[in-house]
Subunit: 137 residues, 2 copies
DNA sequence: TATACTGGTGTTATAAAGTAACGATTGTGG
DNA sequence: CCACAATCGTTACTTTATAACACCAGTATA
């Protein structure tokens, strides 16, 4: 009965999610594939299919400007489908944050334009605090 | 002397820009290539190299979530490097707009985080006004 | 003139990212 | 048992992007 709605991951989905959570930064689908060869992964589709599900339930985000994927950084991530990312082009570090005012502004634009958004992508490319001080050194 | 800093496009750059401006919506690099075969284009690099320059001077934008390119919709486009796009997933139409409050919010986040952004990507995927009324019909 | 430097070009080959199509397997509900 | 849906494994393929190499035109400098 009581089917655990969006919780149970299949073996492949669990492996992919594990690879992403234990990674320092974002991973491409092919990087994930390489990491999971020992677990029986052979073809990109195995990764893409797992990712598709993980994206759907919100456990994973796709970084469009990188063609890569990261695990959602929210603890009990259950509803966050609108987030933003700051991607350091020097060290590769990615920060996830919720830009509420920005989202509100975009919503208000959308309302005026009668545009119904289904997905919002916000990505900042640049240099993180750490790398900035390094180079200012 | 007085070299026209960012104005003169080479033949290839002009052809690519022309293809994009006369297109209804965004084009992929390979779609551009196909359109320009009659003009002597043979290889993707010819397109990508032109695009690289056009992106650099701001005449063209890249839609990350589409892996495609659009001509900038500003008239005298000389300084606009931060814009947003609303992409209709039904008809493919793309609206470019300047979400100033959103950008301000993102800037303020960046300042707090000491993140120095070099490029900002904001893309809304969804359904445009036109397509919404069609389906509501 | 010669030399060198810069930026654009043309071409071949290759890498990286993503999908189509087929069939086998597993679990759930009638 | 059967039907259905979701997942899985595999092969082959498409789409997107880049590396490497050579050539040419313009321009500056000696």
């Amino acid at each position: 009965m009581n089917k655990a709605a969006h919780k149970e991951l299949t073996k492949n989905q669990g492996l992919v999610f594990g690879a992403l959570t234990s990674a320092e930064g974002p991973l491409t689908a092919y990087a994930i594939l390489d990491q999971l060869r020992d677990d029986g992964f052979r073809a990109p589709l195995q990764v893409y299919r797992a990712l598709e599900k993980l994206l759907e339930v919100g456990l994973v985000h796709r970084l469009e400007s990188l063609n890569a994927f990261v695990a959602c950084s929210h603890p009990g991530c259950s509803s966050h489908h609108a987030v933003a990312f700051a991607i350091c082009e020097t060290c590769g570090h990615v920060s996830e944050f919720a830009p509420n005012a920005a989202l509100a502004d975009l919503s208000s634009w959308a309302e005026k334009a009668k545009f119904r958004p289904s997905k919002t992508t916000i990505e900042l490319r640049g240099t993180c605090a750490n790398c900035s001080t390094q180079s200012a050194n």
